[in-house]
Amino acid sequence: MTTKIYIPRDSSAIGMGADSVAKQVLSVSDSLNKDVEVVRNGSRGLVWMEPLLEVETESGRKGFANVAVDDVEGLVKSDFTEAGSRDKSVGLVEEVPYLKNQERLCFARNGITNPTSIEDYIEYGGFRGLNSALDLDGKSIVDIVTDSGLRGRGGAAFPTGIKWNTVLNCQADQKYIVCNADEGDSGTFSDRMTMEGDPFALIEGMTIAAFAVDATKGYLYLRSEYPHAEEVFSDALRVARDKGYLGKDIRGSRRSFDIELRRAAGAYICGEETSLLESLEGKRGLVRAKPPLPAISGLFGQPTVVNNVITFSSVPFILANGASAYKNYGMGRSTGTLPIQLAGNIKHGGLVEKAFGVTLNELLYDFGGGSASGKPIRTVQIGGPLGAYIPEKDFNLKLDYETFAAAGAMIGHGGIVVFDETVNMASMARFAMEFCAIESCGKCTPCRIGSTRGMETIDKIISGENRTANAELIETLCDTMLHGSLCALGGMIPFPVLSAIKHFPEDFCLESHAAMATA
């Protein structure tokens, strides 16, 4: 009997040697005359376990964590049982608490299926959303999405249904669906995992969006540093076209939609939706002023839905199971689930999809297992490089857009970067300004010049030059950038800076700075 082995083709697994392990499994099985089939699945998101090799058994898929090439021979010889596992067995993967305690709607298939197998996709519930959408008119689809309360997962958390409705109501010869896959926030990887592990979910979500607003052309603007995602997603596009899920007359619906994959320009700012559109049009990634909203005048001046990967891949569940099934998850106006990414100095880094309402403490300790270094966690930055630093006292915050906003923080794309007590927050504040200086598109003055001046001024504070005056100047500068910048890059970089000063004045050799209340 053939033994079915799963070794992820996700970048995090490949980075830890998954390709060599897979090769070794085949080669050893061959030489030992073992009948072994290797499936390159997506990642389960238990990233600290990668490469996580799984074997199909009668009782379910059993896993072996952190498998190295020289572990392979023992595993093959023992027919992938604990005996040959050098204590790397994790038992039934589905029973691993990290996974078991999640609420996986978006990531329901990730790690289970062969990402480019449309049969796998369908077997595990794929295209059920699309099938319902096929029976609906655009307005009904939009209404369901609106009713679900789904909000943009790229960071801005704008209600998806409202955006789609704007595009639906625009009269135009051509409308576009644009997927923002220029995932550039620090500590984030859920977009990548989706494209590498469950690309059809994204295709399905984009197609539903296209049917909803009457668009016929879609673009995936893919981060240029994601070669594996490009490979998997390109394959998936080909398969979807071959099977009639993209192209003309999709599934006999007489509706057409296709997606073109475009490799991004390699700049953080191109993840900002208007810069992204400029870049897609072949221009420099320069932020556009709004209005006009992209929904009304977006790509090539046409009405355009621009959404993040996770927003789109959340849609199939909603269409398949109804708005209320989704709305039942979450709290307040933050409905549904969020794929949270644990990164930085964390013991169990990986992807945790949970309904809104989970606390930071649960995420950091119950799931994350504390810091990787074993030292106390001092702070986390959530929402990428523009997110505020949250001190330990606020780790009881519930993950909810409004709760976070009230605390001067943001959820963003759901990436959590963990720092232990050795972190120097003055250098983190400087890094924020430095990041902004490097990534600024250069269009608006506060961001273009302010970020460089911010960096220099923090340096002065660090070196003790007119510390109080320069701290005031930083506060002033942050206020100018916050209110004066054209887009969120310059407008939000004050959050990490001010939160660092506010919560950790000692790192700046400052007395607790009352004026920092604006942070």
């Binding site: 700049a267 700012i269 420099r284 990634g285 320069l286 002023a289 709004k290 209005p291 902004c436 200086a437 490097i438 990534e439 600024s440 598109c441 250069g442 269009k443 608006c444 003055t445 506060p446 961001c447 273009r448 010049i449 302010g450 970020s451 460089t452 001046r453 220099e456 001024t457 005056a469 100047l473 002033t476 500068l477 206020d479 100018t480 209110h483 004066g484 910048s485 054209l486």
Partner: protein, 949 residues
Amino acid sequence: MSTTVWRDLGTPESPSENFVELLVDGVPVSVPEGTSVLRAASEAGLSIPKLCATESLEAFGSCRLCLVEIEGRRGYPASCTTPAESGMVVRTQTDKLAKIRREVMELYISDHPLDCLTCSANGDCELQDMAGVVGLRDVRYGMSGENHLEAKKDESNPYFTFDASKCIVCSRCVRACEETQGTFALTIDGRGFGSTVSAGMKESFLESECVSCGACVSACPTATLMEKSVIEQGVPERSVKTTCAYCGVGCSFKAEVKGNDVVRMVPDADGKANRGHSCVKGRFAFGYATHKDRITKPMIRNKITDPWKEVSWEEAVSYAASQFKKIQKKYGKSAVGGITSSRCTNEETYLVQKLIRAAFGNNNVDTCARVCHSPTGYGLKTTMGESAGTQDFDSVMHTDVAIVIGANPTDGHPVFASRLKKRLRQGAKLIVVDPRKIDLVDGPHVKASHHLKLMPGTNVAIVNSLAHVIYTEKLHDIEFIKERCDSNEFDKWVSFIGQDRNSPEELESVTGVPAADLREAARLYANCKNGAIYYGLGVTEHSQGSTMVLGIANLAMLTGNLGRTGVGVNPLRGQNNVQGACDMGSFPHELPGYRHLSDSVTRELFEREWNVSISPEPGFRIPNMLDAAHSDEFMGIYVQGEDIAQSDPNTQHVTSALEAMECVVVQDIFLNETAKYAHVILPGASFLEKDGTFTNAERRISRIRKVMEPLAGKADWEATVMLSNALGYPMDYTHPSQIMDEIARLTPTFTGVSYEKLDEGSIQWPCNDEAPDGTPIMHTSEFVIGKGRFVITEYVPTSERTTRKFPLILTTGRILSQYNVGAQTRRTENVAWHDEDRLEIHPSDAELRGVKTDDWVGIRSRAGETVLRAYVTDRVQPGVVYTTFHFPESGANVITTDNSDWATNCPEFKVTAVQVEPVTQPTEWQKQFQQFNEQQLDLLAQATESERV
């Protein structure tokens, strides 16, 4: 640099007819929908600080000085990018806004040199102004941080400097290059703090694709892009509104003056022809006006081999008058004549023809339109009743399909080209009919839908087949034809055009244009809402030039593309006042206003006003004058501001005729080629030295105004007055306005024109009781002749054909930086772009002859031979060679033939059969030219030497 800060409303006007009402700082404002809050505030008389916003460019939103507060909205939106909405309550001045603006300015200044007092823009700098407005007092960041203060200057452009250390990266220059000029030569390189303005791929401005139109310089709010003249001479003290003296676009400019010197020419934002734009010639190439070669003293001599003698105006004029009288006595009344100038004013042109008709007593007057747009006058008058284009330039902004035939607007009429390109970028379609791949065929963000690359000389075959397709495919505008055109003429025309021999398939072998492509082009034009035709000398300078103009008019009538905005037949006039010179009665058979001499009522009108009898017999055209000179029938000529020895065909024929004459009087600002054959030189005055009017290609009459005193003491009209008085016909004008008043009295299309009225702004004729404000669009309800006339346009191939001996067709054209015979532009820094005429030859023709780029090649025609350097390029098609004609030593007209238009004698400059071969030395003609030129310059030098003694 901009001097118009005080009236810059910040963002463009919105075309909407729906108005929205809002409250800005408590002031109620009503503005068209789509107007920015910034502009609404400006219109309410409020002023919001701004740097990146300027009225001529779309809002950009980068400087963040114009932030405002809007009730019910979060944050501080930029007023330039926020459209005004009904019910909006806007606050432009609050403590918070003041703080943000001051702090943004503090950031700007932290990366800007603190050298205001010694800066060339001191007092004329928006950054300086805004720093004052926001009350910046301190730069708390210090000046020691990272900065661009040491950035290098780019001084490669001869006219302006790019000083990157002063750049605030507002992108106004980049946007002006894109939006206003449409060249896309500039970009921002790098990002963030490292963002810098870059010409092309980090090239210098001169090496880049920059066409030096000056739009970036005008747009720059600081001293970053600055005219070198301002850097050297300082900020101007006063400005005088005037009109450019180069091409027929007729751009309005402000001549900015310091003392008696023009410091710079700034395109006038209110200019209706140019809408604030300019090209390298009008904007920068005015230095010729004070060039050392200017002739500033009247001179006379007996023979052309004698040295010149500087004399008083009186002596020169009386000598000329006595010579003319002597000739008339000896050879007859009609043995003298004159040529008016398309470079001079309407008033001056009018006076010269008046002098000829009244003082000479004959009608031997002609003008340089003879060699350019005479077929336009004939063709448009015959079909529609008026010898002029039908539209204003603004019309192009409503065009859906433009056909450009035999014109190269980006070089010849650059400011119009920029507007056309803007319209094309908005989605209008373009059809180019030209043997050569002109820039419009495939440029940045502009691409012709069809390039009908015809063989030179086959225009009429093309226009006939376009009409054939439209008629036979029933795409014509039956309603328009029924209502507006003469049905008998149409029926006759139909029986001609419908014949198979006019089909594109039949004519493909003649024109070289694939029939399918031509059919598509015809359909595109016929099916669009607004189709407009623009054409140039590639239409007129043919043996069938007039036929082609008739064919173009037929095409426009056939499709109903006349009589409204966005459509029309639009000749792109070559010279600043070629329209005016024609209007002013410069032709031997017509009195001012295109009224034939045989019309006794009109003649009597002039006779009464002028108090002379006017001969009803048409006089000589230029070619007739030259022919007659060879047979002693035409022995004296008064040439005002024209250079027939360079511009007219068959140079040898022209110069031998001039040599045969007994008195050649040339009035010009330089010793031009014709003046080298003259006996009297009356120094001319440049357009900066006199008052008057020019009429551009859209019939727009614009004032030119005296900016400085004439170098030789007299404006051209004053010299004509003197000459007329010396000839015994009294003239007593003391100001050109009196001449215009006389024109208005005598010309029905000008009755409403006066200097008083022109001071309010330019006017398009007809301007009379029926159209007191002028006529932007002609033939709106009916044609000037009533019903439009279709005219049969049989294609007759030119007799100038290729043979084994002359296997290539030479055609000619112009280049952006040089102007016509080059007398002006060759005496400016424009030679940095083009310092010699080259022969463009296709790679296959070049290879066949062993010719490489830069090789000297001989070009031999049936008429003569010249030598140029070759430029191998596939812009020309195989079998066709091309050159410009800006340098006299090129001898382009040594090879052109005597062929001319059957109706108007316009020379067939555009088709000459030639052979091209590699050579090692100049031709005999060029050697003689060189020798003669040196001799004449020596004779001129002797004149000034004798004065010193």
